[in-house]
Amino acid sequence: MTGAVLEVKCLVKRFGGLIATDHVSLEVRPGEVHALIGPNGAGKSTLINQLCGELVPDEGAVFLGGQDVTAASVPDRVALGLGRTFQITNLLTEMSVRDNIAMAVQARMGRNFRIWDAVARRRALWAETDGLLAGTALDTRAHVPVAGLSHGEKKQLELLVALARKPQLLLLDEPMAGLGAAESHEMIVSLRQVAQATPMLLVEHDMEAVFALATRISVLVYGRIIASGSVEEIRANPEVREAYLGAEDELC
């Protein structure tokens, strides 16, 4: 046992003749922010979907907190402490910000097969929801339906909803995608705060964010991890520069 929160061993996923995930192994240890970078089409989303249980891998194994979850369903993995955000925000669009967070809190609190209570009167639920909202940028927008939020607000809400579930590990699928400079900065601050308590696997295109947050970086190209190491090692790795970053040096 390595003591890793998440351990992926030799994961393989094929679509027809195409190999989308090619013997990927990686791990996320406590206190770590493991960033996964790679060009478009490298198979990052496919990998994420296998980690959270939406796709079943053809070979290999996934361990959460030392437990083999390769065949476990999405909710079962969530129950073991896996949280995630979606690249394209994926919220309950007809509900308000507060309701979205409450839904996550409710999931953790359980007792959701009750048909004779009134959700509006679950005091603990709303107390905790409001506690989570307090002090965040969305606090003043609590009763706005999701459809009325800006893109940046939706991204923030994605994160809040994932955190409300109190995960042991967060899978972040491009949390910066589509954000402006100021919003990105805000997001980085939020994530840094979160990272102190929760290890993360961060999939991201925004190199500034990756270098600001990651303690370790793996580079995924054509479904294969071609390099893995500390921020400095990856920065220096010529193969990475060649395969992923290209001629233009946009590292800083």
């Binding site: 979606f86 007809e94 409710q106 097969f113």
Partner: protein, 331 residues
């Protein structure tokens, strides 16, 4: 999009008008109107139950006639065995007590919904529509060939079930009894919709993937909803068998499922009062048109088409829009 305030107002106005009107119906309605309103009440229980899975849960079931029909048949079969003084399946005594037959019908249709739902919910989308239809058809054919209970001719329930010593042959009494069941059901449904489970179910319809990522296992929640909905439809069927004093395979036919769905869509999918308005609109139209012309189905078809193409969200959305207009006029 009407504002929440406007929707709230529309709902309250609608509810107040409804309650007063329903209590007063026997005072001014003639016999056939009373019977029409009674049928609307009974069918709206089934329509609201269908709306629970369809509007709140996003499961398009085209097989709810199965639960409606089973509810009716439970009442009919218990009555047959009560009249014959023979036990059903060798050990279950027959009954003509409403407080026995109706709960029995609800339980049996719930069990049936559990079986059908457990199998059907493995699919989704169009396949779900068709597999629920398939199971309902199987049950239809089963009862059509069930000679012991009248087969195609159905079961005549000579006397409406007894209930608290009331004179159930009196139309007005029968109406108030049905209204009582209806009110209890609607209040219960209101609670369920706003319960922890109901909230999860609504989330499930909006975004199943998100709910799974929060740790809710969709299958179990949907199955639970399906069973509850089947029980509601069974209640409706049991009341209908008592009202018509008749249960026949017609209750199980797929066109009954389609009619229930029509009532839901006509009123407004996913709104609480929608199915009630929809049921009323459908039955009133059907009855009124049939009295006007023997080609009434032509007009019914044209009206359905016009409603689908011309409105979005059915009657309920229309009323909410109206309420919003009134608000604007006031403020």
């Amino acid at each position: 999009m009407p504002s929440p305030d406007a929707r709230n107002l529309a709902r309250r106005i609608g509810l107040a008008v409804l309650v007063v009107a329903l209590l007063a119906v026997p005072m001014f309605a003639d016999s056939s109107s009373l019977s029409l309103v009674t049928r609307i009440l009974i069918y709206s229980i089934a329509a609201a139950s269908l709306n629970f899975v369809l509007g709140y849960g996003g499961m398009i079931s085209l097989g709810h006639a199965a639960f409606f029909g089973i509810g009716g048949y439970v009442v009919g079969m218990l009555f047959v065995h009560h009249a014959d003084a023979t036990p059903l399946m060798g050990f279950i005594p027959g009954s003509n007590q409403l407080l026995v037959t109706v709960p029995a019908a609800v339980v049996v249709s719930g069990l049936l919904a559990l079986i059908i739902g457990a199998l059907s919910l493995r699919t989704g989308g169009v396949q779900f529509i068709m597999i629920t239809l398939a199971f309902a058809q199987m049950i239809f054919f089963f009862f059509v060939s069930l000679k012991a209970y009248g087969g195609e001719d159905g079961i005549i329930v000579r006397r409406t079930n007894e209930f608290l010593g009331l004179n159930m042959r009196d139309r007005v009494t029968l109406y108030y009894v049905m209204l009582g069941f209806w009110a209890v059901f609607m209040l219960a449904l209101w609670r369920v919709v706003h319960s922890s489970f109901g909230t999860v179910l609504r989330g499930m319809k909006q975004n199943e993937r998100r709910m799974a990522a929060l740790g809710y296992a969709p299958y179990r929640y949907k199955l639970y909803a399906f069973v509850l909905s089947g029980m509601g439809a069974g209640l409706s069927g049991a009341l209908m068998a008592n009202f018509l004093r008749f249960a026949s395979p017609d209750m199980l036919h797929w066109t009954k499922s389609a009619a229930l769905m029509t009532m839901v869509i006509l009123g407004g999918v996913g709104s609480f009062l929608g199915p009630i308005w929809g049921t009323a609109a459908y039955l009133v139209l059907e009855t009124w048109l049939a009295a006007q012309t023997e080609y009434w189905q032509l007009w019914l078809g044209l009206i359905l088409l016009a409603v689908v193409l011309g409105t979005r969200g059915g009657i309920n959305a229309g009323m909410a829009r109206l309420a919003a207009l009134m608000m604007r006029g006031r403020g």
